[in-house]
């Protein structure tokens, strides 16, 4: 009898210890002080990376064949649409090239520097197989080794996809813009009004808040990132198009629904913008001239 009671006590103790450990880990993670936890997750991501890539490589032909069988008509229609879009894009590339030349000439005329220099990008393959039914991120087959860091924006050819939330040496995870934790400063292009776009869950459109009641917003308008100071995103990344507008008299603002431009269900390749927000301006140091010609205004921030 006493032995049974001892066993029961030990069982309860073991269970309590495990539950307390779990709660402690949850607290650490929620407070964002899980450096060790992030490292452990990053190491696991790196360790399982080759397995994931191999599995994806093996499964891809079967997946493509299956998609071909079940959605042949859709693929055909999509193919025709893409051909049309490609022709349009080729025509607009010439026009954009001309505009860019004009812009550079004007900047040179007024002696101004380009405020938005081209942001370097890394193209990465999406591992097309979430590991959980409750997954809210996508995995990329590139990581810190390629310059990717947490917070960097990710886009596909169609528009903004999300931001990097975890980067290990060879892998990274991206939080999609439909995630409820996601928000970004956006601008409605036609009116120039700024708002805050928030995710509302997988498969659902974004909601843009803080758009004034007086602003006229029409469904079909384009929404881009505003890139205001401190934002994770640079200005001008395509977010999506307005699908619905609803006045919210209580808040004195409009609730604008935006459909993401990127097809988040069929991501194969994406580009990570190597853009880091809140990077301090490089300090301009006037150095004493050496033997050579005077060196004025050398930026010390580059490394």
């Amino acid at each position: 009898m006493a032995r049974r009671a001892g066993i029961r006590r030990r069982t309860w103790l073991r269970l309590a210890l495990l539950v307390v450990t779990a709660i402690a880990l949850l607290t650490l993670d929620a407070r964002g002080s899980g450096g060790v936890l992030d490292t452990a997750r990053g190491a696991t991501l790196d360790l399982l990376g080759p397995v994931r890539t191999f599995g994806d490589w093996v499964a891809e032909p079967f997946r493509n064949a299956w998609r071909g069988i079940v959605s042949y008509d859709d693929l055909e229609a999509e193919n025709a649409q893409l051909r049309g879009e490609l022709a349009e894009a080729e025509a607009s590339v010439l026009r954009v090239g001309e505009l860019e030349r004009d812009r550079q000439e004007l900047l040179a005329l007024v002696g101004a520097r380009d405020a938005a220099p081209a942001i370097p990008r890394v193209t990465a393959r999406v591992i097309d197989a979430p590991v959980s039914n409750f997954e809210r991120t996508i995995e990329l087959a590139k990581g810190r080794r390629d310059g990717i860091r947490e917070g960097m924006p990710v886009e596909s050819g169609d528009g903004l996809v999300g931001r990097v939330v975890q980067a290990s040496t060879t892998r990274s995870r991206v939080e999609l813009l439909t995630d409820p934790n996601f928000d970004a400063g956006v601008r409605i292009v036609r009116s120039g009004d700024d708002g805050l776009a928030s995710g509302r869950g997988p498969g659902r459109d974004l909601e843009v808040s803080y758009i004034e009641l007086e602003t006229v917003v029409i469904p079909g308008e384009t929404v881009v990132t505003s890139g205001f100071a401190g934002s994770t995103f640079p200005a001008g990344l395509l977010v999506g198009t307005v699908t619905d507008v609803e006045p919210d008299a209580v808040r004195g603002a409009q609730r604008v629904t935006v459909h993401p431009a990127a097809d988040l269900e069929r991501l194969r390749w994406v580009q990570v913008l190597l853009y880091e927000p809140n990077v301090p301006e490089p300090v301009i140091v006037d150095r004493e001239p050496d033997d050579g010609p005077a060196d004025t205004g050398s930026a010390g921030g580059e490394s």
Binding site: L18, A22, L25, D56, V131, S132, N133, E135
Partner: protein, 178 residues
Amino acid sequence: MMAGAGPLARSTLVLAVAVVVHVGLLAHITPAGVIVDPLVLLAVAGGMMGGRSTGASFGGGCGLASDLILHTPFGMSLLVLTLVGYLSGAITEQIPSAGRLARAAIASLLAAGGIGIFAGAGWLMDLVYVTEAPIVRIAIVTGVASLLTNPLLERATRWALIIRPRISAASESTSRSG
């Protein structure tokens, strides 16, 4: 090579194999659009084979492995699968003489219940991506997967936890008394 290894080393090996199978194979096979999580099935089998105490520990190990590969809050899978392992052990202890088929059916219900516990934890933590997932469909597919794989998983956990088969233990005591 592992014949002389203790339960900890064997369990670690079983969990490592389960993780590799999960990310390399099962993530690509999605019946009804659902990914079967072998760690949930293992936690159930561990509890059923080892009882509530061992089940809690083995479930905890499954949870920790799961926490390392998922992006849900760290500790959530540890908490859920510890409870799943414990409950599996506690429930199975009430019906010690259940046959193989009955055990598979119980495992199936427990695995589906495990998904329910996960969803409940997600609801408590206000995780929209958990609560808005098709919980019923996930639970059904996980239950069916558990039903089909339970004999194999029981064998794996019996080996990992170094548990003698019940039949041979019974026959041993009979022969001793004889």
